[in-house]
Symmetry: C2
DNA sequence: GTCTATATAATGATAGAC
DNA sequence: GTCTATCATTATATAGAC
């Protein structure tokens, strides 16, 4: 079986121009956002701007293919990361800035809003669902009174914090940003561990009162029925 | 003393065209983002597009004035909210969607990135600093091992969650979005109280280990000096 | 398949009449 | 101060040559 880019080399040369354009667009979108122009993308792919329109028809169509490709590679990286390290894994992760481009592309997709943002968000929540369920099962994570609501809210929080920091970091490349996140930028490890271990509120009354209120409300609703 | 818009009425009529343009721009920027065109803004202000250039010179200059005005009104609303309700207060909060425009404008500023995003972020953190310090002082909020780092991280989290939800809510007006947030959209009250009261991790070992590591590192550094 | 050249639309900014 | 008309730029998309 022959796999196109199983080596660690830059897979530019033996790809069709169409695929090169798509990959260049993913990089440009990650670096500059989705208002990256055809000229920029064409230059990176080594083709003329007109060829992009010729192959993809419209910018929306180009972006749709990029979205799909990013999700596909994201799935690939994730499943490879769960399994034991295979030969496949290194080909992707060794390429400098590749996983970074994936993550930053998804941030850009959320940033741009619209239906694609919702699709990516749901996909991220789906993945987090498995991680959280596993954490609860192994006893690492507390059970929640509403697992689904917690899952979504925690995703909003963590994804949003990443986005805010990305947007307010001046002129950073995807690789540099992801590297700084992995290094625990700005002393965030301690506050993260504090919040996730101890919370921030000093006593339980607000939570307990609200839980009691919810229970009363539900009992009342059951009564009516 | 005569105050221009002390009444509860729409303050359009007796404002100069320049001020009407600025206010219209703030509304347009909040609703459509900063790529709202001069034509859109001019239409809302009831003037011609050319007049915007004539008064403000450039779009950046217009936005700078809008930023300043939003920050000014934000300060005004905040200080009025802290003091007892005065006559001034109602004039602003009664106007439908006014506080909403302020909040959403700031979200848009973060969203657009660059130096203005950093300015607004720092301003929000500054305000949160007082709130957190007060919470710790009254015993409502746990003290942190690094108050400043926690402050910043909590701001990233909460502001980011707001931004992600705003970006992934289809075609929502500023007023509707803020209203849904105030109503506790999507069952977020419970997970928020859970997280802030109990955290999510089941035991303390990760936090305790990290705190011990930090202390060792600091002692080592002190030794070297 | 690929390029060059061009059409078309929208934007911010400018000039001059009133 | 305000408007109309226009310019210059940029973007995507298209047409036709090679």
């Amino acid at each position: 079986m022959r796999i196109a880019d199983s080596s660690g080399m830059r897979p530019d040369a033996d790809l069709t121009a169409r695929a090169r354009i798509r990959n260049a667009a993913i990089e440009c979108f990650a670096e500059d956002g989705f208002d990256a122009s055809f000229r920029t993308i064409a230059q990176r792919a080594g083709v003329s701007p007109g060829l992009i329109s010729h192959h993809f028809g419209s910018k929306d169509a180009l972006r749709a293919e990029c979205d799909a490709e990013v999700l596909r590679k994201y799935t690939e990286v994730k499943t490879n990361a769960v399994d034991r390290p295979s030969e496949h894994l290194f080909g992707y992760l060794a390429a400098p800035g590749f996983a970074a481009d994936l993550v930053v592309y998804m941030l850009r997709a959320i940033h741009a809003g619209g239906q694609p943002a919702r699709d990516f968000l749901e996909r991220i929540i789906d993945d987090a669902r498995g991680v959280m369920a596993h954490g609860v099962q192994t006893g690492l994570v507390r059970p929640s009174r509403d697992e689904e609501a917690r899952l979504r809210y925690l995703t909003y929080l963590t994804l949003g914090a990443l986005l805010v920091q990305f947007l307010t970091t001046p002129g950073v490349t995807p690789e540099a940003f992801i590297a700084s996140v992995q290094a625990g930028q700005g002393d965030q490890i301690l506050p993260t561990l504090e919040l996730f271990t101890e919370g921030v509120l000093a006593d339980r009354t607000m939570l307990d009162d609200y839980v009691a209120y919810i229970q009363e409300r539900n009992e009342g609703a059951t009564h009516v029925r």
